[in-house]
Amino acid sequence: MNRKQKILLLIVALAFYLVLLPYLCRDRNYLLGVITTASVLSVISAGVWLIFYIGRINIGQGAFALIGGYTGAIAISKLGLSFWFGLVMAGIVSMLVGIIIGLPLLRLKGVYFSMITLSLTETARLTAQSLVPITNGPNGILNLPLPGELSFFGITLIPDFAKVNKHIAMFYLSAFLLIASYAVLYRIINSRVGWLFRSLQQNEDLASSFGVDVPRLRVIAFAICTFYAGIGGAFFVAMQQSIYPATFSVQDSTYFLLYCFLGGLGYVFGPLIGTFVLYIGFEMLQGLNEYQPLIYALLMIGMMLWLPNGMLSLRLPFLAGKKSPLGGAK
């Protein structure tokens, strides 16, 4: 597939996603909500994927999404800031926590890193539960207002969500976040930094012997990962208009791994495809919600046994275009 075809496919996909989907769902708010949620979850998964890309497994993405969610909720409800400011703040706070924790933890390799990130999710939940004065403890923060107007020198850039169809507005906001985050990710992976990240994935010691600043790159990747988690978490909270300590749990952190894995770890758009297929596919199967963890678990084990390179590794003609130029790096 050449460059022209790729651009064409991208335009078709964007037109479908930005125009046709909201049009088809204009009277089905629930379905639009599902797509919005899938979009924001795929932003969070993108962070997990980047950590996979440098050869680590991050099972703590739920913790950073929770930190972002709480930052956003506190900024809006207690500090009285606007949602837009809260959203940016959530990303930055989550990123700062990621950098501070990441500096010592990213030295840990393999299972050690995964174990500590898993513990992080649970610690974040317990902290949210016990810091009652700030987080309201187990009761959570409820009744968050919808995002307000964003204007610049009197020109309204984004209207007040309460005044327009909030489902459509939320969808377009999530679509913007999704496109922006994947565009950035794609740019990173196909830049010089992307090559360096691949070198970390293959052999950190060797990379370091060639003069790659391994510790710094690891922290950069983790900072991007936690920034995505923070933004995604804050958006998710704004959409639900509430947050609890259990909003993002260990189970969610595991799901993010599965989303990335299902899509394929060697492809930038892997987590996007994985999240959409799995999340939306599941919402279609009404009545099976009770068995969601069971089916996800079986899927995860089955994938590991029979399809270790993800869905995008299936050579179907219509999927081939989604492959990143260096996708087969694994």
């Binding site: 513990s119 189970q251 996800y296 590991m304 046994l305």
Partner: protein, 284 residues
Amino acid sequence: MGQVLINGLYSGVQYALIALGLTLIFSLMNVMNFAHGQLYVLGGFVTYYVYGVLGLPFVVALLAAGITLAVVGLLFDILFFRKVLARSARDESTMLLATGTALLLDSLFIIFFGEKHRGVPTVISGVMRISNNIFLPYSRVLIIIISVAVIVFFILFMKYTRCGRGLRAMAQDREAAKLMGVNVDRYSMFGWALAAMLAGLAGAMLVSVSGVNSGLGTWLSIKAFIMVMIGGAGVISGAIIGGLMLGILESFGSSFLPGNQYLAIFIALIIFLAIRPRGLLGRQ
């Protein structure tokens, strides 16, 4: 103070049992079993049915839990881990597989056992008075005795039997052990069974004191990881030290910083790992 220490030791010996199994699997196969806490919970459920519902003696329940879990461990190895290990050299795939099995067990527990917290009648009643203001219920004394006995038995087994020597050889160098005629496949299976059995026994003992519910698994896996990170993965003495230390830290934490003990332990753990990334006794 003395009471806090005693409580810490009591949880510590149980934790050590869990950490031993986790570290055994890790040293044999380089697999971190993310479902270890879930195995422990399964042991608790088996005991609940055998001892609590059927009313058989506690010893029978202990044995039943141990045997059931050994079988589950065997199946884990044969059905899942062996296949993935054979194909992939990266530890990522086994780690993902292990998180998958953890999710699988968790969801099966919810489906079959519900979310109710279940307890059983105490095995022995009465309270032992150690000094004027330090007390320890006999049921906990019993658990301490059984746990210590199992740990001692495990160490002797690893040290002096042919089978234990085979396992240790495998932990040191899998390839070399294979060349020396150790049946690596059979010993992996055996290692899984043994490790799962230890978790099952610990779970069986827990249910007699504080009961069991479906949601405990993840939290216990995390505790087991913390122990292994403190002591160092893959070392038997490290697992025991890590278990005892976590038990004592937890006990002190909950009396001095109630509610925030885990945040404190976690921050301390991060600082500790920044200084000693391999834990106290971990292999370099």
